[in-house]
Symmetry: C2
DNA sequence: GCCCCATAGTGCTGTTTCAGAACTTGCTGG
DNA sequence: CCAGCAAGTTCTGAAACAGCACTATGGGGC
């Protein structure tokens, strides 16, 4: 089955994953919830390639989770901010965070 | 950055995603929470290829989220059941489900 | 004994996605 | 005029994935 076909799946979990179930999208949303909004910030924070980042941002805008907002006219510059729909993903990120904190401790000695 | 390098990330969300942030893993866990446990059941329910399914099951067992359990000796057969660690992902799946139900309605006329 | 079935995978081939780095575009400041 | 910043785009090779066939092990019918 192709991944894109999940968007019509009967299961709401599958539909959700069809939007943000790839390897980087949730990390972008984490950064948004932490207050980041610019392309370079996402690139540095997540460590993903600029190519994939551009693609994911485009998809998130199409999905209505982010809005592409011009913050500078002179040299045309855009940043990305969460819509209400996107902000409602916060609980999901938090449950993932809590599970990770409990079950996936950092291996390095320097505790958080 | 390679995906596998996320497992040592400072961020618990990133560490969580390093385990189950690919395109199919959360769908397998959904099926587990729905009571499925056998290879063929997962394959049919999720529609993923058997190749990827085998790989994901192996990883989930290594991560301590599933256990591979022999349910038949005669022809050696195994099924997969959630550990406690795995069951604690239920809240995360539920928040994803709730978001999907609210924001990603099925396009087909036949409502749920 | 022989054949087919069920179950849990593995192998193979071609397509899609991803990683990494360089390049582009439009403007600012020196 | 050149360097620098920001938001991408282009290019090439590597990894992951899709689809299907195939293997392995035992059971049951005939």
């Amino acid at each position: 089955m192709k991944w894109s076909e999940l968007s019509d799946n009967w299961c709401p979990v599958a539909r959700t994953l069809s939007v943000l179930g790839d390897r980087w999208t949730l990390l972008i949303l984490r950064d948004c919830l932490l207050g980041l909004s610019r392309f370079e910030q996402f690139a540095e924070s997540s460590g993903m390639t600029r190519h994939i980042l551009a693609d994911r941002l485009k998809r998130l805008v199409e999905a209505g989770i982010l809005v592409r907002n011009p913050y500078s006219e002179a040299p045309k510059r855009y940043d990305y901010v969460l819509t209400e729909k996107g902000q409602e993903l916060a609980p999901a990120l938090m449950t993932l965070r809590d599970w990770g904190k409990k079950h996936l401790p950092v291996r390095r000695a320097s505790a958080s």
